[in-house]
Subunit: 445 residues, 2 copies
């Protein structure tokens, strides 16, 4: 067997890191469910034609093949999903008759992309997605709720503060229209590169694409507009442009910003430079960064898509959704050793085994603790107490239990091995301090 080396782009965690990841995923799920979002999991694979329909990403797809498949086999043409939006669109169409609309779902799954691995980019990673899809019309209320839930969810994660930028595609496209630009999508794609190539680079590309220099400058001026309240609209009006699409965009973004006015100032920013790369967004777009970790890029993003679901037919199923790049955030913090759990195991109490004869008594203690929700292990073989305590120490288990050595009557004792005292205790009633019940998550010292 060859020497084992990690596979680039496929991160794996040690148990103490996995506890952090689980705690984060649990927190997201809990918050999503508190807001009434239903869980959905889709299969890992989608037909290739569906994955490719979104364009742009074709070089990133992992295609499946059965090792000994015959040609024309039934599962030829399947690829691993590279996001959770394409599967959602398919799921909603496929099960439409059985879903209640508006359909609010969350989905926390791994996705796969055959990208060249680099910092913050993975080939396998967790995404946590929230979407609402309705029939015919979708209330703008949900555009605001998505932002609120993003801020709350990422805010509860053990990561630096989130700043969520919000824009509206209709504003950008409305301005471009008013400027007489014909290739709206192409212009959006260039403006989307602001982060990567800066204003000078974008200006050059816009002019190369045929825009007059004054028009390119107006596009850049639009992209400079920021506000933590509704004042962005006034700034757009000073550009001296008008149009129905622009007005609708401004009114939608104003509604969303007003709905979020109770959030701490600066958490949510109307940021008119945000374009998002994907073609299917039609209104609100979101992009969030962590303060101090801006080099990671967007750690959450999303937007409103009025025409993605429904297969382009008569069926109108508008949606709005966001995606949280869980592994992108945690990968940096876990991989860098910046975040860890207080234990390698869930165990709160190690019950020692003084002798083979006390095995039944030790198990009864562990059972009594477990019955009250306290994670407990019995040591597996009779051994010196020193060895058994060391077992607990190596794993960060905070408490060690000593059943009576006789195995029958006599006093039970429990010790806090982090330097605490040893006390007489009853397995039926003893309770650890709440902070010790589960491993705690903290920045590493």
């Amino acid at each position: 067997m060859a020497k084992i080396t990690p596979i680039s782009g496929f991160p794996e965690w040690l148990p103490e890191q996995r506890i952090v990841e689980q705690s984060v995923l649990d927190g997201l799920r809990r918050r999503f469910e508190l807001y009434g979002f239903a869980s959905v999991e889709t299969r890992a694979v989608e037909p290739l034609e569906r994955l490719l329909a979104k364009g742009e990403t074709d070089q990133e797809i992992y295609v499946l093949r059965r090792l000994h498949a015959q040609d024309a086999d039934g599962d030829a043409g399947l690829g691993l999903h590279f996001d959770l939006t394409v599967p959602l669109a398919r799921y909603v169409e496929q099960f439409r008759g059985q879903l209640a609309h508006p359909f609010k779902r969350y989905q926390i799954q791994k996705v796969w992309r055959g990208e060249r691995p680099q910092t913050g980019r993975y080939r396998e990673f967790y995404q946590a997605d929230l979407d609402v899809v309705d029939q015919d019309d979708l209330s703008l209320h949900f555009d605001a709720e998505m932002a609120r839930l993003l801020v709350e969810s990422v805010g509860a994660m053990p990561v630096p503060p989130l700043v969520l930028g919000i824009n509206n595609r209709k504003i950008l496209q409305g301005v471009y229209e008013a400027l007489g630009i014909e290739d709206l999508a192409g212009t959006l794609r260039i403006v989307d590169k602001l982060d990567k190539v800066g204003e000078t680079g974008v200006r050059t590309m816009l002019v190369e694409a045929g825009l007059a220099e004054s028009v390119a400058d107006t596009c850049l001026a639009l992209g400079r507009i920021r506000s933590t309240d509704g004042s962005f609209a006034g700034a757009v009006h000073t550009l001296g442009l008008r149009g129905d699409l622009l007005d609708r965009g401004l009114s939608e973004l104003t509604f969303v910003m007003d709905s979020l006015a109770d959030l701490p100032r600066g958490t949510v920013v109307a940021n008119l430079s945000i374009a998002r790369g994907l073609d299917y967004y039609t209104g609100t777009v979101y992009e969030g960064q962590l303060v101090g970790l801006e080099a990671l890029g967007a750690v959450c993003s999303g937007g409103r898509y009025d025409d993605l679901v429904g297969g382009g037919g008569k069926l109108k199923l508008p949606g709005v959704g966001v995606s949280i790049g869980v592994t992108r955030m945690l990968g940096k913090l876990l991989g860098g050793g910046l975040l860890t759990a207080s234990r390698k195991v869930p165990t709160c109490v190690l019950v020692t085994l003084p002798s083979e004869e006390t095995r039944g008594a030790a198990r009864a203690v562990a059972d009594a603790l477990r019955a009250r929700g306290i994670a407990a292990e019995t040591f597996h073989e009779p051994a010196r107490f020193g060895k058994q305590i060391k077992y607990a120490q190596r794993r960060g288990i905070p408490f060690v239990w000593f059943p009576p050595e006789s195995g029958g009557g006599g006093a039970h004792e429990v010790k806090d091995i982090r330097g605490g005292e040893q006390i007489v205790a009853d397995p039926a009633t003893w309770t650890p301090p709440t902070v010790d019940l589960r491993p705690s998550i903290a920045p590493r010292d």
Copy 2:
């Protein structure tokens, strides 16, 4: 876009079915953690050479290829894992220096097999695995603990009762040795087909493989031995065979059965017909079936493997583990409509929106409920109460909240829309009955 059809062998669930699946996975995880098992997730892919090293399964592997990959690309030669044991063995070797031994881990992930789909067989499905790996020696205590945890875990699932059969490979191989059989592995593989081809079929195959008829008959007689206590050992002795390996096997199985003597009688059965197909088992083997659903085959299985981990070198890392076929069990019950949840959503309370002006007040009610762990949604747009109540009914949401219509002062009321009464309530203190806090899981009427 082509019409959407399901992909055979890749099951997907509706939200109300997914609630059942989540509840089952949560229950397994909770129980595994109460016993101190640490969570591990491994990447979905392993190098092909590692997947193929286990033999037997090569035709079932899904191989990956990047859609636009160059030849000799870095991630060529990767396949999706078909179980969680091969990844565990690799993980333990790779991270050995950073793991505390004995290493107790659980792993709940999807696995993929390119099998021909048939009842109870899937191409993508959840497995829940428990394993303990130690260095040099692994206490038999864990062989018993695995069985206990299996019985408790499956026993807590909303499925028919489990009967767990236990055997020990050393007994089978010890008997075969004492009978002078040379091809122990080949004989095991034939005996493993008892379920499929019956005694007559197995006898024919054994004789065809070169065994004398009397020897074949002794193999079959051994396979007929069952006991719910330690009496199997006496039955084996009546075969009149002796040997060190046989003695060790009998002593190991006796220890395991004695350790489980407190479980309800008949839950655990020493069943000497159990062989298990995989080559790497060296001692205890497990196989569980659901009463009344025997046609599903084994819904959980596993065993002791003394030489699987460590790469065949000097390193000795014995392990024992079991695998629960979660999707195999639930697929039958969910797919057949035999099991469902009381809601399509996690929401406990729908807060109505009487008018646009009350939006802030409605959100404040939902926030107050969520802060106390009660899942709440606000209705997204002002609408007739009848429409809003229907929204709740369609989703199975039990309670509808009515904020004061003025949006300011005045009484809040909450109604149990399953026919219960409407009462005045305070969002800061009102609490639903515990049974309504989360969706309940029950056999469908």
